[in-house]
Symmetry: C2
Subunit: 168 residues, 2 copies
DNA sequence: TCCAAAACGCAATGTTATAACACAATTGTA
DNA sequence: TACAATTGTGTTATAACATTGCGTTTTGGA
């Protein structure tokens, strides 16, 4: 992930159509460069994932696909997800068994997530420092890290405010 | 987790019976203090989990239980696991859908794991610094962390050596 | 001894993910 | 263009993980 780029918080108001457009444009460009085929199912799955910042489960996606006339068997969506994962276009959130769009697929990286237990949205956060910190800790035990799963669950700023108001 | 106590590496040779004995003794003492009932199924599940440092899935445990004459329906093992989780006697590893014993259930804490993709064993590592580091990162985004999932997968020291030898 | 809470038995079902194999579309190459 | 190899998709079945609901039993305290 680029360190120069400070990710905009998804927890505040933002022009989400911009997120979608940017993600799809980046995906197309990436696949063009890599000579990979962003087929209709794959593109549509990516689009569906980007409809919100809520991680979506495979079967939620599958339902939507089938309503749109796509083939509705599990392998269809899992194959599309595998493709998108391989290309770094999405991340899998293990603690939710769900998938979320990645907004910087150009840079190979692990996803680090802040997941709000109230509104359900997941924000990917800056990675470099976390990664090097965790790897230092691991190497102290002689362990060579290959993949990292870091998922922090709690309350996002908006939901903290909301629950304070509810208390009054 | 106690900072004074440096966890012994499970990746090296060690007296595993000692791990088991200590874990069971700690569990009994904890349940006695809390007036919670460590029933036969619960104790046996804990014991089974501690047979190795490999995270075990619910259905692996269930198979073993049924071979020993326990009731073999899923709720049996999941209820036992819930009890053990509630008391901090085990941790759940989300990226594996599996469960592993905790060697310091006295201290409430999140589990941070080094998981070897080759031999499958999982080592819980020191937590305090990681936790505060991650929480700092999160609070920079105004996020209030409640639960943490940190699972690093890769190669343990022994398996690194083995794969080097294999290369020759 | 009686009651309420906790634990357990049991059947069914829900949710997530993969295997295996056949067929179709696409791409590179002669 | 023709052909072979690769890649992608359709389809059926099943594996793997987890929960719901309800009734019975056990347990510990009044």
């Amino acid at each position: 992930m680029q360190n120069s780029k400070v990710a905009e918080s998804i927890f505040s108001q933002h022009d989400h159509q911009h997120c979608i457009d940017q993600a799809l444009a980046a995906a197309k460009e990436l696949c063009r460069q890599r000579k990979s085929r962003l087929t209709p199912v794959r593109e549509r799955v990516l689009e569906l994932i980007w409809q919100s910042h809520l991680p979506l489960g495979a079967y939620q996606l599958l339902n939507q696909l089938s309503q749109e006339g796509f083939n509705s068997a599990p392998p269809t969506v899992y194959r599309a997800l595998d493709f998108l994962l391989d290309h770094g276009l999405i991340h899998r959130i293990a603690s939710l068994n769900a998938f979320i769009g990645c907004n910087c697929p150009q840079d190979q990286h692990h996803g680090y997530f802040l997941i709000c237990r109230d509104c359900g949205s997941a924000q990917e956060i800056e990675a470099e420092e976390i990664s090097s910190f965790l790897r230092q800790n691991a190497s102290a035990a002689g362990f060579k890290v290959e993949t990292e799963t870091v998922e922090l669950s709690g309350l996002c700023p908006q939901c903290q405010n909301r629950s304070q108001q509810d208390d009054q």
